[in-house]
């Protein structure tokens, strides 16, 4: 089922490309001259041992960190570095390794918050919460409900996310990202700490997102099995350097990768 999708993306033009990006915090090198691209409509995995700089990479992509060197071209526009707001507006959404949900808010509000960039009714109408403002709320609520339905979290619609079990929180976070209708979706270990069943669900959602909405996805994941059957292409980082890049099978066979992983285990 995945096969056709993979083929067409193989030719799809690049949506985002990072060119020898380097990042360091006060002397500590996080990334060194990393370059790779993400093509429209593909599922791109970033893997590597702990501390390989995967998360830092995502943080660079959506402008949370400013790299010291390198270029980032997104949708053809070349920048020295991203800015969070610009990234968000450009259509880059993101979930986090250890959840960054708005714990005090309900599932509904969390996902609605993801629509912020798309809501424009002025302050005055907000004061009245009437007329245009209300209409806008309703219209976006409808979109959000579709996402809720899609992620099968209708039952927890009005529950404070702080009270939800971990697996569900992950889903809500994905929902918030989807609410932004992103062109590029960055998932930082979407399945960390999940049991098998939850993982299967999550994989299904990721695939469905990619197919239903044609969203391009870049994900960091530790579970090799998952990575191999989800992703179209894989880039491997180790100690902040790129050591391999290609289709899952290519990467699996790459000896640097094998070494890196064996190196990690002991």
């Amino acid at each position: 089922m995945r096969a056709p999708a993979a083929n067409e993306t193989a030719l799809g033009e690049s949506l985002l490309a990072v060119e020898d990006v380097s990042l360091s915090f006060g002397g500590v090198r996080a990334l060194t001259g990393v370059s790779f691209d993400i093509r429209k409509g593909e599922i791109r995995a970033i893997i590597g041992p702990n501390g390989a700089g995967k998360t830092s990479m995502l943080n660079v992509v959506n402008g949370f960190y400013q790299p010291q060197a390198g270029r980032i071209s997104f949708k053809g526009m070349v920048r020295k570095s991203m800015r969070p707001y610009a990234a968000a507006q450009g259509g880059i959404a993101r979930t986090f390794q250890n959840l960054a949900l708005f714990r005090g808010m309900t599932t509904l509000d969390n996902i609605l918050a993801g629509r912020t960039l798309k809501m424009h009714r002025g302050f005055f109408w907000q004061l009245l919460r009437y007329g245009p403002a209300l209409r806008e709320e309703v219209e976006h609520r409808r979109r959000v409900e579709e996402i809720i339905d899609f992620l099968e979290i209708a039952a927890i619609r009005k529950v404070q996310v702080g009270r939800l079990p971990y697996g569900l929180q992950k889903r809500v976070e994905l929902g918030r990202a989807l609410a932004m209708e992103p062109d590029l979706l960055l998932l930082d270990e979407p399945m960390a700490g999940m049991n098998l069943e939850e993982k299967e669900d999550m994989s299904r959602f990721i695939i469905d997102v990619n197919q239903q909405y044609g969203t391009t996805i870049a994900l960091i994941e530790h579970d090799m099995g998952v990575v191999m059957d989800l992703s179209d292409r894989v880039v491997v980082l180790d100690y902040g350097r790129k050591i391999a890049d290609g289709t899952p099978d290519e990467v699996k066979r790459d000896k640097d990768v094998i070494r890196a992983y064996l190196g990690e285990t002991h």
Partner: protein, 358 residues
């Protein structure tokens, strides 16, 4: 137990997103409003109106103001008193310069002045968070306090250095000044508070409210979903200060009828902060609970000994109040850190699922 929700279904989102989706709650609100507008005026003597209700409402509004900033946006402020002051002095100047304009309009307009000041002192929130920001707001508190004392123009050069509220009539009825009856002032305060509370609930239930809460709960994530933190924070400062400003103006014009700068001293800020915390951060209802507890309780304490004929020095009573309030605050925080509003919620939930435990 009283809730009978069977048959209350929503066939459109507007209804589902209403502030009070449950019929019984809507009824409750109406009952409260009727009591406030009809029953109290009928049975209300000066003491009830002037010493209990008017200040209670005013403090509630101020608490709402601070709650918008601290409870909803997560920005701790110790400058509430000063922002209230700005409102009061602004109102005084406006009333003096344009004597013929309806005073209530000025009461509201003066809010905008404290908004402006609030935004000004909110600027540091771009760089700093938490207690650091709290201390920054202390700068506002002390600087403004100092202005209130040192700039005679603000209090119209009155010899006492205090605000003397001029007589103003609305449609022939004395609204402010010595001859204004407590009933008229009560109704004015009540109306303003009701309207502004309604507006506040609109804000917090809409896009802006979500924006603020996002900033409060996880500012980084908020930024990454496209919320401009700085704008959101400044907006919070502006709105919050507006409410405080109006509360301050009402306090002087519709309650005290005259006041000195001390009224807006740091203790006032602390008092409001108590109300917000005890009432419950991030809930409008809590602001009312908090103000009821923190303001009305001490009055009760002062009355009790008298009623029981226990001889007690007023000073001692004062100090005793301090002790008790202080202890109460700690006790409340221990019992329910999320404030009275949370207790209320729990109770309500129990009633909804009655007879089941969950």
């Amino acid at each position: 137990m009283f809730y009978r929700e069977a048959g209350q279904y929503k066939s459109n989102y507007a209804a589902d997103m209403a502030v009070f989706p449950i019929l019984q709650d809507r009824i409750g609100i109406i009952v409260i409003l009727v009591i406030a507008y009809v029953v109290f005026p009928l049975i209300g003597n000066n003491f009830l109106l002037n010493t209990i209700l008017i200040p209670f409402l005013i403090f509630s509004l101020a608490a709402i103001g601070l709650n918008l900033l601290t409870g909803y946006t997560g920005l701790l402020s110790l400058g509430t008193g000063a922002f209230m002051g700005v409102g009061a002095y602004a109102c005084l100047k406006l009333a003096t310069i344009f004597p013929h304009v309806n005073i209530l309009i000025w009461v509201l307009v003066s809010g905008f002045f404290s908004s402006a000041i609030g935004v000004l002192f909110g600027l540091p929130s771009l760089r700093i968070k938490g207690f650091y920001l709290a201390v920054a707001t202390l700068a506002a508190q002390f600087f403004l306090e100092w202005c209130f004392i040192r700039i005679p123009w603000l209090y119209n050069y009155s010899v006492s250095g205090a605000i003397e509220v001029p007589l103003r009539t609305v449609m022939g009825v004395p609204m402010t000044g010595p001859t204004a009856t407590s009933l008229t002032r009560y109704l004015a305060v009540l109306t303003i508070v009701v309207v502004l509370t309604w507006v506040a609930s609109n804000i917090v239930h809409g896009r802006i409210g979500r924006m603020w809460m996002s900033v409060r709960d996880m500012d980084l994530a908020a930024e990454l979903i496209g919320i401009r933190l700085f704008r959101a924070k400044l907006l919070a400062f502006a709105v919050s200060s507006f409410y405080c400003g109006v509360a301050g103006a009402m306090m002087v014009f519709l309650w005290y009828g005259g006041a000195e700068a001390e009224v807006f001293a740091i203790d006032q800020s602390f008092l409001i902060l108590f109300m917000v915390i005890i009432g419950g951060l991030g809930t409008l209802m809590g602001s009312f609970f908090g103000s009821a507890l923190i303001y009305i309780l001490p009055i009760g304490l002062r009355l009790i000994p008298g009623n029981f004929g226990i001889p007690i020095r007023p000073a001692a009573a004062e100090q005793l109040t301090f002790v008790i309030v202080g202890a109460l605050i700690i006790v409340f925080l221990v019992v329910e850190p999320n404030g009275l509003a949370r207790l209320w919620q729990i109770g309500k939930q129990k009633l909804r699922v009655w007879p089941f435990p969950y």
